[in-house]
């Protein structure tokens, strides 16, 4: 020790002197909070150690506490995962049930408004074979189902019963290659035979090239086959073109567009007329025209006739009405109505009593540049057709 002190005497003196002066500084100086610097130094030097010790103690205690608290968390997590999976499955099941209930409600509504006797059935299986378009339903002979009955949804026909069993029935779909049924078009009443193609599109055969079928036109069952009642929607024409002998018409069956889960079996079919209006499946639904206002006669303007020809026709109609002339009558060479007459003034004169003095005749119209009435160059009234009648339908 003495050797060390002698060896590092100068350095020792330096450190001692500096340390003494540091203490002196610490004793004098007060910090911002009026604490002496030596106290600040002491606290600053000791507190980190205290904080370290407290951190070690707290960390150890927390670790032990968490360790014991986490005992069983794995099992709890597994249980929650299983419960979550079960709840997801249950939720999916309930959603499916809700969708099924909606479809059943729609079928029920359709069943209530159709005159045929229908029973609901559920698809419970499909036929074997890749090309067979056959399904099984859960209604059989015990439910009154017989071979040949039509199967449909509220969107259209699906197929027909080809075999019945006590508790199930086999349905051949209209897309099956063996399916055939009589159909009729909505617009032009063109008869044809619906045939399945083995895929999603059906064909309508036996339609002559001269008959008019347009794409987008609806086909309904015609009842000619004595199997499917008349008036059930079949589908919409996708392609219609002239063929070698008959037209090639391809149709998308409307009854299969939304999949098959529940169907209706026509127990007692009643023929219905082919509806005139558009199908409810059309995406654009038009409202009926608003009724005319009471006491207001529709005019050209109110009907929206705003072109020059519309105004001219309207004037001729009023001129004819004022002179009690019926267009389209009278032989050639008979006296035409005076088209130079002001129809509004004539209507006012016709409204005065019969004993009133007659108003002077209207002066002849200026002929310069004009054309006398009745000449061949005069504007011809729409004699080919009667004056336009008041619109009765929109």
């Amino acid at each position: 020790m003495d050797f060390l002190i002698r060896r590092y005497r100068n350095l020792t003196v330096l450190l001692l002197v500096i340390f003494a002066q540091l203490l002196l500084l610490a004793y004098q100086v007060r910090g911002n909070q009026e604490a002496r610097l030596i106290r600040v130094w002491a606290v600053t030097g000791v507190m980190p150690l205290a904080r370290l010790l407290e951190g070690l103690r707290g960390g150890t205690a927390g670790f032990l506490e968490n360790y014991f608290a986490l005992v069983g968390v794995r099992e709890e997590s597994e249980r929650i995962k299983k419960e979550n999976t079960r709840l997801k499955l249950e939720n999916q099941y309930l959603k499916t049930e809700l969708a099924t209930a909606d479809r059943v409600r729609a079928l029920g509504a359709f069943q209530a408004r159709t005159p045929s006797k229908l029973i609901a059935a559920r698809i419970i299986g499909t036929g074997s074979g890749a090309n067979s378009k056959v399904v099984f339903v859960d209604r059989g002979s015990t439910s009154g189902v017989a071979r040949g009955m039509a199967v449909m949804t509220e969107d259209g026909i699906v197929g027909k019963i080809v075999a019945t069993y006590p508790t199930a029935s086999q349905v051949v779909l209209i897309t099956d290659a063996t399916f055939a049924a009589g159909v009729i078009s909505q617009k032009n009443r063109v008869h044809g035979t619906l045939k399945g193609q083995g895929h999603s599109v059906c064909m309508i055969d036996h339609v002559q090239n001269e008959e008019k079928v347009e794409p987008g036109e609806w086909f309904y069952t015609s009842g000619d086959d004595r199997v499917l009642p008349k008036g059930l929607p079949v589908g919409q024409v996708k392609i219609a073109r002239a063929g070698k002998y008959v037209q090639e018409i391809y149709l998308a069956p409307s009854g299969l567009e939304r999949g098959l889960e529940e169907v209706l079996i026509v127990i007692e079919g009643i023929h219905q007329p082919i509806p005139e209006g558009p199908q409810a499946q059309q995406s654009l639904r038009l409202l009926p025209a608003p009724p005319p206002e009471a006491g207001v006669e529709p005019t050209a303007q109110s009907r929206g006739l705003t072109t020059e020809a519309d105004r001219l026709i309207d004037r001729y109609r009023r001129v004819g009405a004022a002179q009690k002339h019926v267009f389209g009558e009278g032989l050639p060479g008979s006296r035409p109505p005076d088209f130079n007459l002001n129809p509004d003034a004539a209507a006012g004169a016709a409204a005065v009593p019969p004993n009133a003095t007659k108003p002077p005749a209207a002066p002849p119209p200026a002929t310069s540049g004009g054309t006398p009435p009745g000449s061949s160059n005069a504007p011809r009234p729409p004699s080919a057709a009667a004056p336009p009648a008041a619109p009765t339908k929109p």
Partner: protein, 175 residues
């Protein structure tokens, strides 16, 4: 100034013969006091002389000539504490800085030939810069004072003090 002893030792550049001096106590007291008074009084009339650190140069001189680090520590501490007592600083700020300057100056004198004017110039410049920088560090670290340290200005004043220390040391050599 009395020659206290002479010794030869191996330093940089081969063996050297260095001398150690001793002063009378009155000189050891009056010279630092004069330097401190100069720094206290003269800047009242010549403001630019504020940066002339005569107490520092005196500390360096005595430490260099005495060639004893422990005594250099005592010189520096004493002069620094007196300087502190005359300033608004807490006691010990200049004391610590000049203690270190005294120690390092005495230590340097054991390795270099400090009689050379060029070496004195360099030492004067270096110790002034060290003094100012370390004071700035202490003021920020211990007192929390927001002092500014401008290196360029400090270098300039260091050159001024170095330029002064060469004739001053030559003058003090005569004592």
């Amino acid at each position: 100034m009395t020659l206290l002893g002479e010794r030869s030792f191996r330093g940089f550049g081969g063996y050297r013969h260095d001398r150690t001096y001793w002063w009378r106590p009155i000189v050891l007291v009056m010279v630092p006091v004069a330097a401190i008074l100069f720094q206290v009084y003269i800047p009242l009339f010549f403001h630019y002389l504020t940066y002339l650190e005569l107490p520092l140069l005196v500390t360096v001189f005595f430490s260099l000539k005495r060639r004893h680090p422990a005594l250099g520590v005592l010189y520096g501490a004493s002069i620094g504490l007196v300087q502190d007592s005359l300033s608004s600083n807490p006691l010990g700020m200049y004391g610590i800085v000049k203690t270190l300057v005294g120690y390092f100056a005495a230590s340097v004198s054991l390795r270099f030939d400090v009689e050379n004017p060029a070496v004195r110039f360099l030492l004067g410049f270096f110790f002034f810069f060290f003094h100012q920088f370390f004071y700035w560090v202490l003021a920020r670290a211990l007192l929390g004072q927001g002092l500014e340290f401008v290196p360029g200005e400090t270098l300039l004043f260091g050159l001024m003090n170095a330029a002064v220390c060469v004739p001053l040391f030559h003058l003090l050599d005569k004592l």
